[in-house]
Amino acid sequence: MVISKKSLQFLLVTFLSCMPLVTFANPTADSLQNHTENAAPVAEAHGETGHSAEKEFNATELINDHIGDSHEFHIADYDGHPITFYLPVILWTNNGLEIFSSEQFHHDNEGHHVVDVNGQKLVRFNEVIFYADKFETLTEDERKNGAFAFDARPLDFSITKNVFSMLMSALILFFLFLAVARSYNKNKLAPKGIAGFLEPLVIFVRDEIAIPNIGTKKYAKYMPYLLTIFFFIWINNLIGLIPFFPFSSNLTGNIFFTFVLAFITFLVTSLSANKEYWKHIFMPPVPKALYPIMIPVEIIGMLTKPFALMIRLFANITAGHIIILSLVSLIFIFKTVAVAPISGAFVLFMSVLEMLVAALQAYVFTLLTALFIGQAVAEHDHH
């Protein structure tokens, strides 16, 4: 038994170390093909020549593609054709709400393919949808920062890859915890199965995060929020690490997502803050002459806390993705398979590390949220 167990472990490790080569390498190859794919019709349409079929590998572009958001979910390529899960595009245009499939863009991300939606001409550049006429007037720089060129584009409420992933994670978590909650109705004894796995985590959040930071009297009110952000961030971190459809999104490494979470934490903190908290900000215990300095400092301090939350989660997760993708890119940069085992081993190591980081960042976000809430509701002496 011992021998067979050992060989099983060995096989598992071998398999896992080889897996990144396959799973990560494919999208890389895919995106290479994808780009050539895109280039071909463009070349035809504009009658341009000189576009070589073999495009130079650009690691930055690849990484940006993978950590960014997109309107469609690229699954794989088969026989030179991309297999894509098209997500709905929802736009608030000058003429009102427009909903159509992202398939209409035909994988174009260069602003060449014009889509006609109820008489409005739209193009997509770098995953941002513009009005075709206004797009023409934009400079290269303005196009690259198109996300903030609000006058040149309709408001975009599309179900992007990240939104899709978020919905999926919310549904998974909801049904998971619904099952746990149901299991308590039937089983009054020690928890079994999924409840036995998740209950210690719930108790961990309660006993190690909520109670020490908020206090035994007030923690119960904030438990649902803390549990929700903990599991929501954790599962999305993990989903980001799974390199195939329908996972592989980089939701928690997206600054807008972390912004919303940090903003909600800020709201929860501010709304539950007691008189002493506000007094400390607007009437700090310093001589009145220092108020012009102290009050802005205190207000900035109030805002930097959620800001740090936002940046920390975003940076940690994005950095992890970038490192893994860079390691995979090494194979294509050196253009040799010989790098693959080394690269694969590092990717395996990083993936395992990222699994730790996934849990750790969820923990840190929740812990700091609890800490901020604890500071806001504490009945402390003046110090």
């Binding site: 940006n64 593609d65 950590i67 960014g68 958001d69 997109s70 309107h71 770098n126 995953e127 941002v128 949808i129 996300a147 903030f148 584009r153 408001l155 975009d156 409420f157 599309s158 179900i159 992007t160 990240n162 939104v163 978020m166 919905l167 919310a170 978590l173 909801f174 915890f177 619904l178 746990v180 909650a181 308590y184 109705n185 009054k188 209950e199 719930v202 108790i203 309660r206 119960a220 438990m223 649902p224 929020y225 549990l227 929700t228 929501f232 997206n254 807008f256 997502f257 912004f259 919303v260 979470l261 909600i264 994005t318």
Partner: protein, 163 residues
């Protein structure tokens, strides 16, 4: 990084997160936290009642021990008492018997003395009557022989004195 329209993710994150939070709070966190709390309470109750039972048990054992000790002491004292009583009874009966014996001996002595006295009196009367008859006979004889008569009387009186 492709910053797709920020409003999309901000909008959907807010909506999804808030709806998700409300649903989870209602359908998951409340029942789960309630069940966990309930079970912890019941475990604590069970533990404290077990502790109480243990203490009661301890008390009961101590009580039993005490009662046993008391019983043992009582038994000892009873035994001692019985032994004393027996000894006392033996001593008493011995004394009684001795007294009775002494009394009986005394009685016997008195009776013997009385009998003896009676016998002596009887004897004396017998002897006196006998001597009278003898004397009568002797007198009858001796009165015929004066010398012999006197001699006889003297001898007889001499004998009587010895008595």
């Amino acid at each position: 990084m492709n910053l797709t329209a920020p409003e999309s993710l901000i909008f959907w994150t807010s909506i999804i997160f808030i709806v998700f939070f409300i649903l989870l709070r209602k359908f998951a966190w409340k029942p789960i936290l309630g069940a966990v709390k309930g079970r912890e309470d019941s475990i604590n109750d069970a533990l404290s009642s077990a502790e109480t039972a243990r203490r009661e048990m301890q008390n009961l054992t101590a009580e039993n021990e005490r009662i046993l000790q008391e019983a043992r002491l009582e038994r000892d004292s009873l035994l001692k008492e019985a032994r004393e009583m027996r000894e006392k009874m033996i001593a008493d009966s011995k004394a009684d018997a001795q007294a009775e014996g002494a009394r009986m001996i005394e009685q016997a002595k008195t009776a013997i003395l009385a009998e003896k006295n009676a016998a002596m009196a009887e004897l004396k009367s017998q002897v006196s009557s006998l001597s009278l008859s003898i004397a009568e006979k002797v007198l009858k004889d001796e009165l015929s022989n004066k010398e012999a008569q006197t001699k006889l009387i003297e001898n007889m009186l001499g004998d009587v004195k010895l008595n």
